[in-house]
């Protein structure tokens, strides 16, 4: 995994074929989770948390006005990951600032979904050593390097 910023604010992401396939697969799965109304409530609550803690009516109204738009924009971000990778073919992935702006929230949401599946709910909950735990760490590293590249 290599992440570098180039002139013109383009970030270059070097992933091997396995990493590209993994991320493409994860983005597609995330998109399905977004559109699965019958899915895991806990996962759903992480992606669409309550805006009002003690006012269910206000929260319902907030959701009524924001939910579909949020799903659409999160879904578009997932699509942007797949599109960036597809456009790169076997080569390096080029992300302009707009693409980075789509990747970062999507990587965050992917990690939120996986964290819920792994039972990571508090700061001191350990990341399990299994494969999903490794995917979780790998996504964190990718995201950290992307943030470093654009914030430098």
């Amino acid at each position: 995994m290599r992440v570098q910023r180039r002139r013109g604010d383009v970030v270059v992401v070097g992933l091997d074929a396995v990493g590209r396939d993994l991320l493409t697969s994860l983005a597609a799965q995330y998109d399905e989770v977004l559109h699965d109304d019958e899915g895991d409530d806990a996962v759903h609550d992480r992606l669409f948390p309550a805006a009002y803690r003690d006012d269910p009516d206000a929260d319902d109204e907030f959701r009524r006005y924001t939910y579909e738009g949020l799903v659409d924009r999160k879904s578009a971000n997932a699509g942007r990951i797949a599109a960036s990778i597809a456009a790169a073919g076997d080569g390096r992935i080029l992300l302009d600032p707009d693409a980075v702006g789509a990747w970062l929230p999507a990587l965050t949401d992917l990690r939120l979904v996986i964290a819920e599946r792994l039972g990571i709910r508090r700061d001191d909950d350990p990341v399990p050593d299994g494969q999903l735990g490794q995917v979780y760490r790998w996504l964190a590293e990718l995201q950290a390097r992307l943030v470093d590249a654009v914030d430098r």
Binding site: Q29, D72, A102, T108, A115, D123, Q131
Partner: protein, 121 residues
Amino acid sequence: MVDVAQLVEHWLVVPVVAGSSPVIHPTMSLAQPDEVLEERTLIEPDRAWSTVVWNDPVNLMTYVTHVFRTYFGYPRPEAERLMLLVHHEGRATVASGPREEMERHTEAMHEFGLWATVERV
């Protein structure tokens, strides 16, 4: 680094439906200079509501700082101060003003994957 070589076949928790290619939309830009302007103009009359960001065990500290800088337009030191408040105190008020405005910020935070709520000041 994680060796992803053996991972890709094992994490198809949700099977990918053939032909369900995601729709591509123009995505939000992280830089929103209009937001900064509005932050300045709404400072006065109505501060009855606030947007609060809460700690979670997932988000990277650098990413939270990045969001506070790019979305709210906070200078890096202020963005880092707010991020550390979230990290150590469990919450930070990142904006205050009219209710509709605070709902818009909260929606934006949810889009970034941050846990935010609208609170009465």
